[in-house]
């Protein structure tokens, strides 16, 4: 197994763990963390899979950079909304389905 493929496998693992946590947890911060774990796994998969057996590839690396900015922005947005939600409701999680 090449290093790149190893990275990809770790990526899958992270994705799986993130997904599991995302479904299981209700607290919004935990879910956001889970989302970020999944995101990292996803980036690893993207770069690892592309570079396995093909050598360094600037394209997925650039994609991941873009993806990171997007993920940071999304997480920040989520935190902003979460903070406001927490201020208004005092709850750390969303109300169950109406």
């Amino acid at each position: 197994m090449s290093t790149a493929l190893f990275h990809a496998c770790i990526g899958i693992l992270l994705c799986t763990m993130g997904l599991f946590a995302f479904i299981v947890h209700r607290h919004l911060l935990r879910r956001l963390l889970a989302f970020n774990v999944m995101g990292s796994g996803c980036f690893l998969l993207l770069v690892g899979l592309a570079q396995d057996g093909r050598g360094p590839d600037p394209v997925p690396q650039a994609l991941v950079l873009t993806g990171i900015v997007v993920a940071v922005a999304s997480t920040a947005l989520a935190l902003v909304i979460f903070r406001r939600w927490y201020r208004v409701s005092g709850e750390g999680q969303l109300p169950e389905d109406v």
């Binding site: 990809a8 990526g11 994705c15 995302f22 919004l28 879910r31 989302f35 999944m38 995101g39 996803c42 998969l45 993207l46 899979l49 592309a50 396995d52 093909r54 394209v59 997925p60 994609l63 873009t66 993806g67 997007v70 922005a73 999304s74 947005l77 989520a78 909304i81 979460f82 406001r84 939600w85 208004v88 409701s89 969303l94 109300p95 389905d97 109406v98």
Partner: protein, 489 residues
Amino acid sequence: MTVQPATANLLAWLVMLPLAAAVLTMLLPLRLRAAASLVLLAPMTLLALMLGAALATHGPFVLALGGWATPLGIALQADGPAVGMTLLTVAISVPCAIHAAAYLRGHAEAEYFWALFWFLWASLNTIWMSTDIFNLYVGIELLGLAAVGLVALRGDAEALAAAMRYLLAALLGSLAYLIGVALLYGGHGSLSLAHLAQTDHAQATTAVALAAMSLGLALKTALFPLHAWLPPAHGGALTPVSALLSALVIKASFFIMLRLWFALAPPGLSTAATLLGLLGAFAVFWGGWKALRQSRLKHLVAYSTVAQIGYLFLFFPLAIGTGEAAARLAWDGTMLMLISHALAKAAMFLAAGNLILAIGSPRIADLAGIGRYRQFSLLSFGIAGVGIMGLPPSGGFGAKWLLMQSALAGGGWLWVAVLIGGGLLSAAYVFKVFRHAFIEGPKRDRFEDPPAALEITALVLALVSLMIGLAAHGPLTWLRLGTPFGVSE
């Protein structure tokens, strides 16, 4: 087809102008933001019309951004669906913007509404035109965040919870999509849909990638049973926002799904297609049933969206694994359904918002007596309702007719039952509103009078949704340009 750069650039202008508008409306003094946005509607409309004209004269064409051809660069394409959706976006956004300008006047939400509105428009246009799967990812992220921001604008607890729920769904959906991108790039070394379409699809990687992406997009489109985020978000947002979200935003992810399935669907995928169709069928009945049970007007309309999304997903079983004629009818029907639902649902949300303004309450039961005093708003709601119920002569009826013909051509009796049963269910919830509105009694005789701009925009959208059924032949022929269905004639 090669065209002049100036013509091809129309595609990119349709993204750059709204982005520039977003920056502008962020920097302008508060009181000028709405006015500037209204002025900018004119060039947007003009650009979209010019693009339509270019497609009509030159046929489908692409723009290689930065001069870099695919697969190295990113290309935007003008084919029937892309241009059709761009024009639809204009048709929905312009009335919604006019409505919003009047609706938000003097409200704090107006401060950043316009920047978000323009970001939303830019991302929609990107999604309609882009041919690059990663670019589409950035597009749906931009779209999702803009939509979430618009939902959150209201700022109260309910809106924040709805926005948060929506954001979580959107993020999860994007990640599922991104995993598909990773697999496809890993397997085929390209991000361009045109290149991916030429690869061998009959292997597990493509199938898993397509499955992951479809799952993510279905979540963003709120396909049953992944729809739980939609009703609070669409029902709880500001009225013009609800209209934009229901009419356009959920269509964007569905549209990407269509593009992916065209390019990537491996042979023998009818089981998956049937599964999507079945989920669609469940959506039609579950959404309709829940709509009927709502006590708040906008939530009723929002659940109606859940139901109507179901019809869109009938496309997959109707078009995949059936004959050419059936597939073509399914495509026509789905496009018409998409367009007429967009128009009718935007009109319905705007009309519902006007009714709510008039009665000063979000509850359907408080509509009693309004039938006598504010018939104009009620009329718009009714005309939009005709489209939602799929009764003639609306576009919704035409779409159902085409889908039904497709189902009969392919022997899909189940789908016929869904189309007819769903129509009856939607009639039940639309007329529920009227039953309350027509109550005459001593209850009250004072209602607020919504500004004329709010009433007229709703009515215009409603009328267009009604008339599109009678004028669908041309647009449908046009929407087939550059698709697998555009061959004959």
